[in-house]
Symmetry: C2
Amino acid sequence: MKPTDDMPSMRQLRYFVALAEAGQYRRAAERMGISQPSLSQQIAALESRLGHRLVERRRGGITLTPAGREMLPHARGILNGASEMVALAQTLNSGVAGTLRLGATPTIGPYMLPAVLRRLHETHPGIKLMARDGPPRDMIEDLLAGRCDLVVTQLPLVAADLAQRRLYREPLMLAVARDHPLAARTHVTTGDLAGLDMLSLGPAFALHGQIAALCRDAEARLVGEYEGTSLDALRQMVAMNMGATLLPALYLRSELPDDDGDVVAVPFRSSLTRTVGVAWRRSLGRPRLITQFLDAADHVVGTAYRDRVVRDRG
Amino acid sequence: MKPTDDMPSMRQLRYFVALAEAGQYRRAAERMGISQPSLSQQIAALESRLGHRLVERRRGGITLTPAGREMLPHARGILNGASEMVALAQTLNSGVAGTLRLGATPTIGPYMLPAVLRRLHETHPGIKLMARDGPPRDMIEDLLAGRCDLVVTQLPLVAADLAQRRLYREPLMLAVARDHPLAARTHVTTGDLAGLDMLSLGPAFALHGQIAALCRDAEARLVGEYEGTSLDALRQMVAMNMGATLLPALYLRSELPDDDGDVVAVPFRSSLTRTVGVAWRRSLGRPRLITQFLDAADHVVGTAYRDRVVRDRG
DNA sequence: GTTTATCCATAGGATTTTCCTATACATGAA
DNA sequence: TTCATGTATAGGAAAATCCTATGGATAAAC
């Protein structure tokens, strides 16, 4: 906008309030650390912008005009708003508060986030999180579009302008119905899957890629009719003996009571894993908020998840 | 304060909001009527002042950082406040709204102000008035000290830096008890007052001066034991036959039922009057508010008071 | 793979604003 | 009158802001 805006400037408001409080130009100018003529000028400029005399100049000090009295609270309010803004900025800057918009895939979020959020809330009560849920592909899209700041998902990702951070690696296990021929095995190998019907999540999920690849290698049959959107749904399908699938170890720990379900998980002899981590836009930099989140996640991985996963930082 | 204030400037806030709304530097700069580099600089300066990156620069447009999202509503709030301030200034400027602090002496205010305020409220509902009451001397002191803006009082005044405006002149009448020897007279002259006991308000009232002067001229006796602070009190004293006094015609009209009171008012053959008007500090100028008040007062004088007073403008 | 287009950042110089010193003007006090 | 106090004005210095031109980085087009 042109040099002469019709709005009062912060400076003018500050000077005006100082003048009203000091009661004199000289003293107000002194308090503001400027010369009296400068103050005079700014007040005159403010009066000109508002089209009103704000102060009466009188021997022994100034008096606000009726208009000045009406303006004073407004000026104070505006300045308070600005102060609050600066204070908020400092708070955000210190990393103790802020709002992070989180995205998570249903194959990880429900089993990891609660513990991480609890930890984060303990160490930084000022940090608020808004979480959304969806297939990784959609989450990445949201992330790139700026609709969320941080996504918890399976790694690796291919997007070039996303920063990524691995959190841990967890085993994938073969899940079969209790009465399935493989249910009694202590281990399986890829070869055991030959000819098996395999269920999967939709192609928007990273797990889908792993399952599909495994099917190709093992010459198993990927059942395409149904593609779930949650591990729970997948487990139901397995329980109904519609096929086998791969389920992550952490999910099994949290959702499947040991040896007491309709689904049995059998480990692979040669370890099959998935990597879990977070991603954010490189252009976001590395705000304190993200560091705080990563610290909380690392803490959870290093305590509650210890011995269940492979810590895989970097 | 030093050139580099720690507060964001209005301009920066405007640019920031515009950028957030436009989604691009170029477009935002265009909307603000400045070049893109200027916008760039101001945004960078704002980020530097707040110690935070506020926007992510990305191909195809910008995205607010978490901190930027928190700041945006604050920035909007501050700008709204400033807009309101400007709007309020315009409203005040137009004279249709505002607050006038009024002072009135008890010998005039209670009988004139209600009608004036009613009129003023009809024609300018946005104007608010705060009234205070007290002896003229105190009111003038309040006026000079800036504790009120306009005083309704008896004129003339001696203060040099007060602007004065006469409103009307009203007769002063001799008030005596019903059974007083002079009560039956249709007229009195100064000579009739010789030896009479005269009551007065305190010396802080202008009426006191007139009564005292009359006593000197007529060789009447000014009763000093009691000095009331209201015409009502004075009337009570007269009714109890403690002496006579002067009462203004408007007061008598509004407070004394014709020929039906304990006090009788007798006019002077040679007119004795007092002048009523308003005063305000010259340094206040002549704000619209005062003009509006004067207009309302003139209207009342010219209608309700017609034939009872001498219009005495100027 | 190179080119082009788009978008933001940076640089240097012009313009505007703000500030300061010095001084003038106004008013009440001595 | 002269002095003291308090604000306004003038002129030049300093700072902030703006503009044009250009650089760098990335996505789209060829």
